[in-house]
């Protein structure tokens, strides 16, 4: 495995030059710049009114070690503090440039200027020092989406087996989706490393329960139920299997990074005491972004009904155990776990395949979603309480 050593000491496994729009009005120009510069990546925040969560996501994604340099594309009148955003990303020691469309003089001049900047950033990025990396350098994020009855029997326990191995090798693993752990309370609490962690997990579960009741909605979708899952408890028990069996070493708040190796639970449920209650996470891409913002270099995505998502920032590996989905979506599924359901493979065998995939990915090999060109991201408004940004 090899990585890119950044000025702040962090190590990335990709070497992206990012074009980041700071309001929807600037997105088209940013897209044009990316189109002109193959290999560059696009993300951004659509809102005109600044939002603490979105601002923090833009900072963390910009600072992410998979990113070599950042061009911010602003219209010029949105309320996001562009100077503070640029400075915050620069704190990581990387090149950050800003184009303000109103000042530069419209679409064509912004495109010409942006293209020049991104091209020079790409040339510089090629000079980024490459270093060999070990498992201890890696932060792996775990997410599930499109779960069905096979998830808790195959893809999730296989990922859990691999997570136990990764922790033994010294890697860091982050899982999240606390509202999708409701009903596993005794198991989850029993896995806390110490009393402080136990209290944080209990508190997060309580807030998730309050939120689910307030919204009259628990994190189980129509598709989950069509796939044989009935209640949130049943989905949660399957979901928890992807986090392996080891102690939970810490609970992270939104955008907080692990300080050392181990298994971490990301709590983005936030404060539920206020008036503005919204969904803690609006879709899987939102979930992936928050794991990346907490430092995940790559993501393992477990599915049953199937998913195609990737990420503009960090590679995504998909693992699926539903035999029909594996056949139908063979182009998108990296690790085929259907043999576990059909009785032709063991969790350990498929788990080893997953570990090999992770290792190859961290060596520069592209995942299926990367090869297909997937570059998703999602930074929504999280009004008020949604994520008590650290």
């Amino acid at each position: 495995m090899r990585g890119y050593k950044r000025a702040d000491g962090r190590i990335g496994i990709r070497n992206h030059v990012a074009v980041v729009y700071t309001v929807e009005c600037a997105r088209f120009v940013a897209e044009c710049i990316v189109h002109e510069n193959p290999g560059s990546e696009l993300w951004g925040f659509a809102g005109c009114y600044s939002d603490p969560y979105a601002f923090r996501m833009l900072v963390e994604l910009g600072q992410h070690p998979n990113v070599a340099a950042v061009l911010l594309v602003s219209l010029g009148c949105e309320s996001t503090d562009l100077v503070r955003l640029a400075e915050s990303i620069r704190d990581a020691g990387k090149r950050v440039e800003v184009i303000t469309i109103q000042e530069v003089g419209g679409t064509l001049r912004s495109l010409a200027s942006g293209t020049d900047i991104v091209r020079s950033m790409q040339v510089e990025a090629e000079q980024a020092p490459q270093v060999p990396i070990t498992w201890a350098d890696l932060i792996v994020g775990i997410e599930c989406g499109g779960s069905d009855a096979t998830s808790g029997l195959s893809a999730n326990p296989t990922t859990g087996w691999a997570v136990d191995q990764l922790l033994q090798y010294g890697a860091t693993v982050i899982f999240s989706e606390i509202p999708e752990l409701l009903g596993t309370d005794p198991y989850l609490l029993a896995r806390a490393r110490d009393e402080v962690v136990r209290q944080k997990i209990g508190d997060a579960l309580d807030r998730a329960r309050v939120l689910g009741n307030a919204l009259n909605h628990f994190a189980i979708s129509v598709g989950n139920q069509s796939g044989g899952l009935t209640t949130i408890e049943e989905k949660s028990l399957g979901a928890l299997a992807k986090a392996g069996t080891q102690s939970i070493d810490g609970v992270l708040k939104t955008a907080e990074r692990p300080t050392r190796g181990g298994l971490y639970l990301l709590d983005k449920v936030g404060d539920v005491g206020g008036n503005q209650l919204t969904h803690y996470e609006i879709n899987d891409n939102d979930g992936l972004v928050s794991l990346i913002a907490s430092g995940a270099h790559l993501l393992v995505f477990t599915t049953g009904r199937g998913s195609v998502v990737g990420s503009a920032i960090a590679p995504v590996i998909k693992i699926c155990g539903n035999p029909e989905t594996c056949r139908r979506m063979v182009d998108d599924i990296d690790v085929d776990a259907h043999g576990i359901i059909e009785g032709t493979a063991t969790i350990e065998q498929v788990g080893n395949v997953l570990l090999e995939n992770i290792q190859r990915l961290a060596g520069g090999h592209l995942s299926k979603s990367e090869r297909l060109g997937h570059k998703e991201y999602c930074i929504p408004y999280k009004p008020g309480r949604a994520c008590d940004v650290s």
């Binding site: 069905d148 029997l153 009903g183 009741n213 009935t230 209640t231």
Partner: protein, 98 residues
């Protein structure tokens, strides 16, 4: 209905479970061999991945999978009957909404 690859057609995950998960599509009156050795006649079609009762479950009883409650029965459930959203509800709802 038989799977050539393993002897059983449904899996139970814990000895205290009151439901099994179908690993193949089961049809009305099929006798399904369950991974714990039980032979259960299903009383209706059970789609792949769906659950059926291993024993009689009274209305209000908790339904057990993975060895823990995944909800409560909203009506009496016969052995071999499909267990899903029409007869199983979450326990996570607080207070009056339950």
């Amino acid at each position: 209905m038989t799977s050539a690859l393993r002897p059983w057609q449904a899996i139970v995950l814990h000895e205290s479970d009151t439901v099994a998960t179908a690993l193949v599509e089961l049809h009305h009156q099929d006798s399904a061999l369950v991974s714990n050795g039980d032979l259960v006649e299903v009383v209706q079609d059970i789609p792949f991945g769906y659950k059926f009762a291993l024993c009689a479950i009274a209305r209000g009883d908790t339904v057990i999978k993975y060895g823990v409650p995944i909800g409560f029965a909203t009506q009496a459930i016969r052995p071999g009957e499909l267990v899903h959203t029409h007869n199983l509800e979450s326990l996570q709802v607080i207070g009056d909404q339950k």
